[in-house]
């Protein structure tokens, strides 16, 4: 062989594809031929260069990004496909299913004889609510979006569950329309602590977990599919709901469960991935004058895609200038002691204004729900309160909680020109129980 022929064999040599005999021949030639040696070196260098470029391109997030897009696209297509006229479509799919056809035929025969309502019977299918519940046993992570039909921005939750399907950690974004007075909120919740960031007010609250537990539980019950399905199963067993299932033969199409409630004018449609038995989304309908109106949609994403632990704490996200109230690290408000609620409310207001008169902003801040000293100074120093004229009998103010009172009062304020005037704030409002570890402590929560 000459050099040209040897050079042609170099790729096979690098790839380890040369038969032993040819390989030995080539190696002998390489030892004696500088030109071919240089050629081999150049090829190896290029080889390495391409390999390095390939390595630099690998992206761990890419795979998840693609799969998320596929799920989103699938949900979108499903919606578009039957968005125009859902009822007949669902009916059509239901009737297309072989199992349903058989079942319906069988039931019709019975119905003719016994005059029973067809859909009082559950259509027997190969999959069922129990199987779906079971499929969720292996799910630890999920990401949920709850859309209200009129509102574009969803309530969004990221959830880590424990082995029983309970909530271990969660993060929720609540858009402004949930509580317009608060503005949009982010909540991070773990068994040790809960964090709340009021975006518009730029307030950052760290507090005991238990206080928001009922609220978190009710929120999460709606977005933990296992609990949703358990509830549906109970309702079905109690005879409160009619359930229709259909299972298209094409496994790429979702299975569908239509739940129509008997005594409540509402209907739910569940879309289930047939391969995994996991729910992709749920649609909630109101039934008004015989018409179904879509009330809300819940979409499920990223099953078992691990959620970064950082997501369950807001500390790195909240702006540095946010007003932070850490109820875990400081004792807020004043103790009730042996006072009645009315006395305690009045005393809280008295101590708060006295602290302002004394320019003790640290104390004022602690009574004013625990805001930091510098914030209290910023908010209240320009009022320049110089005396308490009177404090009237507190009146219950249930709007802000069961132990909440309005405490009318008159205060003397001194203007920059030294002129004294009387000022009556529209509150202030005092209540106890904000600090769950010290439920007997009273604070001011607004009205100034």
């Amino acid at each position: 062989m000459n050099c040209t022929e040897y050079k042609e064999k170099l790729v096979e040599y690098i790839e380890g594809l040369l038969p032993d005999e040819q390989k030995q021949q080539l190696e002998v030639h390489l030892k004696n031929c500088r030109q071919c040696q240089a050629e081999l070196e150049q090829l190896n260098a290029l080889n390495q260069r391409i390999n390095l470029d390939a390595k630099n391109r690998q992206s761990a997030d890419f795979e998840n990004a693609v799969l998320n897009r596929i799920i989103r696209e699938q949900n979108k297509r499903l919606k578009q496909a039957d968005g125009i006229n859902r009822q007949p479509h669902i009916w059509r799919i239901i009737m297309k299913s072989k199992i349903t056809k058989l079942a319906v035929a069988a039931i019709i025969i019975v119905a003719v004889v016994l005059s029973v309502n067809i859909f009082d019977k559950t259509v027997p299918t190969a999959f069922g609510i129990e199987q779906i519940i079971e499929a969720y046993n292996s799910i630890r992570y999920l990401h949920v979006k709850q859309f209200r039909s009129i509102q574009e921005e969803p309530v969004e939750s990221w959830i880590k569950t424990d082995e029983q399907g309970g909530i271990e950690k969660a993060r929720c974004y609540l858009p402004e329309y949930i509580a317009p007075e608060d503005g949009a909120k982010l909540i991070a919740w773990t068994p040790q602590r809960a964090e709340l960031w009021f975006k518009r007010k730029n307030g950052y609250l760290i507090f005991q977990t238990k206080k928001v537990e009922p609220m978190m539980q009710s929120l999460l019950e709606q977005c933990q599919p296992k609990l949703v399905m358990k509830k549906l199963l109970e309702d079905q067993k109690a005879g409160a709901v009619d359930i229709n299932m259909q299972e298209p033969q094409n496994k790429q199409e979702p299975a569908i469960i239509v739940a129509t409630y008997k005594s409540i004018p509402k209907k739910e449609i569940y879309y289930i991935n047939q391969a995994t038995n996991l729910i992709t989304h749920i649609e909630y309908y109101r039934i008004e004058n015989g018409q179904d109106t879509l009330a809300s949609t819940t979409e499920f994403y990223d099953y078992n895609v691990p959620i970064d632990e950082k997501m369950f704490s807001l500390k790195d996200e909240v702006p540095k200038d946010a007003t932070m109230v850490n109820q875990l690290e400081q004792l807020i408000g004043i103790p009730q002691g042996s006072m009645t609620d009315e006395q305690a409310a009045a005393e809280t207001v008295r101590q708060f204004f006295q602290a302002l008169i004394d320019k003790d902003y640290k104390k004022a801040g602690l009574i004013f729900s625990g805001i930091p000293e510098e914030k209290a100074k910023e908010y209240f120093s320009r009022l320049n309160i110089t005396a308490i004229i009177s404090i009237s009998t507190p009146t219950p103010y249930p709007k802000c909680g069961p132990h909440s009172f309005r405490v009318p009062c008159e205060l003397e304020i001194t203007g920059t020109d030294g002129q004294k005037t009387t000022w009556e704030p529209y509150g202030p409002f005092a209540r106890c129980g904000d600090d769950e570890v010290h439920p007997d402590r009273w604070i001011i929560h607004g009205g100034i």
Partner: protein, 179 residues
């Protein structure tokens, strides 16, 4: 992962969309590299690569020759790239692009190589993408592309030669610009 593309494609069509993950993993680098060479921008390329896989997923049932998944995928990538180029007024001249992109390059990016890739003939580019970016052996490529092994190694050899020529050409050009 010993299973071939066909296996995963059939799994997907059988209602196991999660199995598509394996195909994404196998070809993501190749598709992204291909699109970088077509679009000349890493971020656009990654976005276009995602779009390519999403389209592939929804059109899997149209793929007649399942053994040619990789070529089919690169075909989709090519269409996505063309659409992107049509939608945006892109700079057609890769040399101009090079100047513009140079600032954006992260350390470790081999932009000369990407430019050379952009100029390669389709068959050469495909074989290099499969060999290095999809990390397939020559035997595997032969199997996937339904080609004799000898043809694969010969094409690979020519692809190297062509790539070296292009890299050399660039070097000369760059030197001229610097001068």
């Amino acid at each position: 992962m010993a299973e071939n593309d066909q296996f995963f494609i059939e799994q997907c069509l059988d209602g196991r969309p999660d199995e598509f993950r394996h195909l994404v993993r196998r070809y993501q680098t190749a598709v992204t590299a291909y699109l970088t060479s077509k679009l000349g921008n890493k971020n656009n390329a990654e976005e276009a690569a995602q779009e390519t896989f999403v389209r592939a997923y929804f059109n899997l049932s149209d793929l007649k020759k399942r053994e040619s998944f990789s070529s089919w995928l690169l075909g989709i990538a090519n269409r996505v790239a063309k659409e992107q180029l049509r939608n945006k007024i892109q700079i057609a001249d890769m040399d101009l692009l090079a100047e513009k992109q140079a600032e954006e390059q992260k350390a470790g990016d081999d932009f000369e190589l990407q430019r050379a890739f952009a100029e390669l003939g389709d068959s050469y580019r495909e074989i290099l993408l499969l060999r290095f970016y999809a990390n397939q052996s020559c035997q595997k490529i032969a199997e996937n592309l339904n080609m004799p092994l000898g043809t694969v190694t010969k094409t690979l050899s020519r692809a190297y030669t062509e790539l070296r020529r292009l890299l050399e050409k660039q070097k000369v050009k760059d030197n001229e610009v610097q001068r």
